[in-house]
C-alpha cells in the first residue's frame, strides 16, 4: 500500500483539495502512528464513494512533546471521533478540533498507551476505584500556536437537565454510556462515552506473533467472528504472497455468510426485545441456535470459533456440513415470514420505527456509517461489491439498498440481507471443490516490511485491518477499523430532536457491538 507523506503545514490544504477536487468523501480510516524518531502522526485512508478510488496520505510531527496536526473534523464528520481516538492513544494534538477529549481512557489516565515509549507500570495507572471526575468533561480548544486551552463545561450548561444512561443499561447493548440533555421528553444534546470495554487489543497485539493475534480478532465483534478473522488472515496472506486454495475460499465465504445470518438474527431478536416484543427474541434465538450447531460441528466453537488460520482454515468441513446448511437454507425463509407476521408488520413496530432517526446519504458517507446503516440511507457501501474478495465476484447477489434512512429501513435491510446471504450460500454449497483446506506456511510467520491493508464486509459494516510491519514476527502497529464507532458517532445527529424513547429504537437499529468499538 502506498502512503504519501505530507508536511503538516501543507496538510490542511491538501486534504481540502482531495475532498473538493477529487471527491474523496469517505474517510475509511485514521490510523494514529508512532514512527519513533521520524515523529508521531496519522495515516488517513480516503475513498471516493462514486469511483471507488482510494488514496492514502499521512502526516507527522517530529515534536514528541506536543505533536500538532491540523484537524480535518470539519471536512469529514467521523474525523471528530477518530481524532479523539488518536489523541487518546498517541497524544496527537489536532489543532482546531472542537472537542479534544480522551475517547476511551479515563480523564486522569497518565500517558498515551500506544506510543512506543509508554510506561506501563502499575504505579502510574493503578485501578482507580473512584468515579471519574465529571468536571473534566469539558471542551478543549487549541490555539494555532499549539497551546492547549481548556474551556470548562461548554458541553452542557449549568441549567440544562442532563440524564445519564449506561454503562449498565439494557438498551445500550453493552457498556456504552450516554449523557443526554433533555427538554421535556425531547433530546437536545448527546454526549457519548466509550471505553468501558477498551481492552487495548492493538497494544497487546504488538507483543504477540501473528498467529497469536488471530485469537483476539474473534473477540472484537463476536457476532462477526468469522469475518474479522477472515480480514486479518487475508491481510497477512496478501502480505506474504500466500495463495489459499479454492476450497478454502468456498468454506470461508459460506462461513462468513452463515455468520452474517447469525448476527442479523440476533439483531432482529434484540431490536424486538428493546421495543418490548419478547416473543421475537425467543424466535430469533431459536433459529440462531441452528447456525451455532453447524458452527460447533465444524469448528468446535459456538460463538467464538477460531476457525480461519493463515493459509486456510483450522479443520476441514464435516461430511454432514453441506446437508445441514442446505436444510437451514430451506428452513430460514419460512421463519422470516413468521418474523414479518409477528413483528415487522405489527402496528406498534411500524409506529415506533418508520420515520424515526433519519440519517441522510451524505451524512452516512461523512460519518462513514458502512454496513446496513449506510445501505439503509441509500449508500452502496458493501465491501463485497466495492472491493470483492474471496468468491464474492463469482456469486450472484443483490446489494440491498433502501433510500429512507430511517430505523425501519435499517431493520428491513437486515431482513433482506438474510435472504441474500441464503442465496449466496445456495450457489456455493453444492460446488465446494476438492482440495486442501489449508496450505502449508512457514513455521514462523514474518511479514515483509511495509504497510498492508485488507477489508471485509463484517456483519455491521466495513471491517478493516491495517498492519505496519518492520519485518518482525509481530506487527509494528496493527489497527482494526471498528465497524461500530461511526455508528456511535452519528448517534448525536440521529437523537437530537427526537423523544427519549426513540433512543431505544435508534440504538437498536444501528446495531453496534460495544467491544468492537472499544477494542
Amino acid at each position: 500500500m502506498n502512503i504519501t507523506f505530507i508536511q503538516p503545514e501543507k496538510f490542511r490544504e491538501q486534504m481540502e483539495y482531495l475532498r473538493r477536487e477529487r471527491g474523496m468523501d469517505f474517510l475509511r480510516e485514521l490510523v494514529g502512528m508512532d514512527w519513533g524518531e521520524e515523529g508521531i502522526g496519522a495515516v488517513y485512508m480516503l475513498e471516493n464513494s462514486e469511483t471507488k478510488e482510494n488514496v492514502q496520505v499521512a502526516t507527522r510531527s517530529t515534536n514528541r512533546e506536543a505533536p500538532a496536526i491540523p484537524t480535518v473534523s470539519d471536512i469529514w464528520k467521523i474525523a471528530e471521533m477518530y481524532e479523539r481516538e488518536a489523541f487518546d492513544f498517541f497524544g496527537i494534538i489536532f489543532t482546531g478540533h472542537p472537542d479534544l477529549r480522551r475517547l476511551f481512557l479515563r480523564n486522569d489516565w497518565v500517558g498515551y498507551p500506544l506510543r512506543k515509549d509508554y510506561d506501563e507500570s502499575e504505579e502510574l495507572n493503578p485501578v482507580r476505584m473512584f468515579s471519574e471526575n465529571v468536571e473534566n468533561d469539558c471542551t478543549h480548544t487549541l490555539a494555532p500556536d499549539g497551546t492547549l486551552q481548556r474551556n470548562p463545561d461548554t458541553l452542557f450548561d449549568n441549567n440544562e437537565y442532563i440524564i445519564n444512561i449506561g454503562p449498565q443499561h439494557p438498551a445500550t447493548h453493552g457498556v456504552l454510556r450516554f449523557r443526554l440533555s433533555l427538554e421535556g421528553e425531547v433530546i437536545k444534546k448527546t454526549d457519548v462515552h466509550c471505553g468501558y470495554i477498551h481492552r487495548g487489543v492493538e497494544k497487546i497485539s504488538e507483543r504477540l506473533t501473528y498467529p497469536q493475534i488471530l485469537a483476539l480478532t474473534d473477540r472484537l465483534d463476536y457476532l462477526s467472528a468469522h469475518q474479522n478473522r477472515h480480514a486479518l488472515c487475508m491481510c497477512i496472506e496478501n502480505a506474504m504472497d500466500v495463495e489459499v486454495t479454492e476450497r478454502t475460499q468456498y468454506i470461508r465465504t459460506i462461513m462468513d455468510e452463515l455468520q452474517r445470518i447469525d448476527s442479523h438474527l440476533l439483531f432482529i431478536s434484540c431490536a424486538a426485545m428493546d421495543l418490548g416484543a419478547l416473543t421475537t427474541f425467543i424466535y430469533g434465538f431459536r433459529d440462531r441456535e441452528k447456525i451455532l450447531d453447524i458452527f460447533e460441528e465444524v469448528t468446535g466453537g459456538r460463538l467464538i470459533q477460531n476457525y480461519n488460520v493463515i493459509g486456510g482454515v483450522q479443520a476441514d468441513i464435516t461430511a454432514t456440513f453441506a446437508e445441514k446448511v442446505k436444510a437451514f437454507c430451506k428452513y430460514i425463509p419460512k421463519k422470516i415470514k413468521e418474523y414479518n407476521d409477528v413483528f415487522t408488520n405489527n402496528i406498534i413496530t411500524r409506529k415506533r420505527m418508520v420515520g424515526v432517526g433519519v440519517l441522510g446519504r451524505d451524512e452516512a458517507i461523512s460519518f462513514g456509517c458502512t454496513g446496513g446503516t449506510g445501505r439503509a440511507s441509500g449508500w452502496a457501501c458493501d465491501v463485497r461489491k466495492r472491493h470483492p474478495y474471496a468468491l464474492y465476484d463469482k456469486v450472484d447477489f443483490k446489494e440491498v439498498i433502501y433510500q429512507n434512512g430511517d430505523s425501519f429501513s435499517r431493520y428491513l435491510v437486515r431482513i433482506d440481507e438474510i435472504m441474500e446471504s441464503v442465496r449466496i450460500i445456495e450457489q456455493l454449497i453444492d460446488n465446494i471443490p476438492e482440495g486442501d483446506y489449508k496450505v502449508k506456511t512457514k513455521p514462523v510467520i514474518r511479514i515483509p516490511e511495509g504497510s498492508y491493508h485488507a477489508t471485509v464486509e463484517g456483519s455491521r459494516g466495513e471491517f478493516g485491518v491495517f498492519i505496519e510491519s518492520r519485518g518482525e514476527k509481530s506487527p509494528y502497529r496493527i489497527k482494526f477499523r471498528p465497524m461500530g464507532l461511526p455508528l456511535v458517532a452519528c448517534m448525536g445527529t440521529l437523537l437530537n430532536g427526537n423523544k427519549i424513547a426513540d433512543l431505544m429504537t435508534i440504538g437498536a437499529t444501528l446495531d453496534y457491538v460495544i467491544p468492537d468499538i472499544d477494542r
Binding site: 486522569d108 471526575n133 497494544k203 507483543r207 427474541f281 434465538f285
Partner: protein
Amino acid sequence: MEMKKPVIKSIPYEEFKDNETLEALVNELNKERTNVVVGALDDLINWGRSNSLWSLTFATSCCGIEFMSVGAARYDFARFGFEVTRNSPRQADLIMVAGTITHKMAPVLKRLYDQMADPKYVIAVGGCAISGGPFKGSYHVLNGVDKIIPVDVYIPGCPPRPEAILYGMMQLQRKVKVEKFFGGVNRKQSREELPEGPMIITNVPQETMNNKEKEQ
C-alpha cells in the same frame, strides 16, 4: 438440628463436582448446633431463595451473548428458578459478571455490587472475569473481578458453553442451600464488626475528596 447436604432436584448429587468444598462448609456450620425451629425455617427460606435467584443483566462482552442464549428458548434458565433478569441492582440477587472488566468499568461494577441488597452473590463468567483471560497483559484490563468484589462461583470458558453456565448457576443454588439465613448471612453487622473491604480505596486524589466534601 443438622444442616443437610446441598441437594437440588435438577441433577443427582453425585454428578456435581466440588462436593467436598460444600460438605466442608456444611460441617463447619454444623459445629454449633442449630435450634430446631430456626433450622426448619432456614431450610424453608433457603429452599425458596435458592429457587428464585434473579440475576442482574450485566454483560460487557462475548459471554453476555452466551448468557442471553441461556435465557432463550433452548437452554432456558427459568426452568431452574432463575426466572428473569433484572436491570436494576436493587432488585437483583446475583450479579453475573459476563465479560472483561476494564479499569474504567471497575468502579462501576463495584458500585453496582454495593447497590445490591444483601444477601448477594457474584458469579464470574468466562476467562476475562476470572483472570483477565486473553487480555491479561493489557494496560487497561482488571485481571480478575475477585480483586474488587468477592466471587462465589467461577465458570471457566471463553466463552463458557450454556451448559457450563447453567452448571455454575446450579452450584450457586447449592451454595445458597447451605447458608444459615437466621443468624448467618442475613445477620445485621454492627459497624465495628464490619470486615475491611476487599479493596481499600486509597488512591483518590485530594481534589476529588475536596469536591465530595463540598457536595456534602
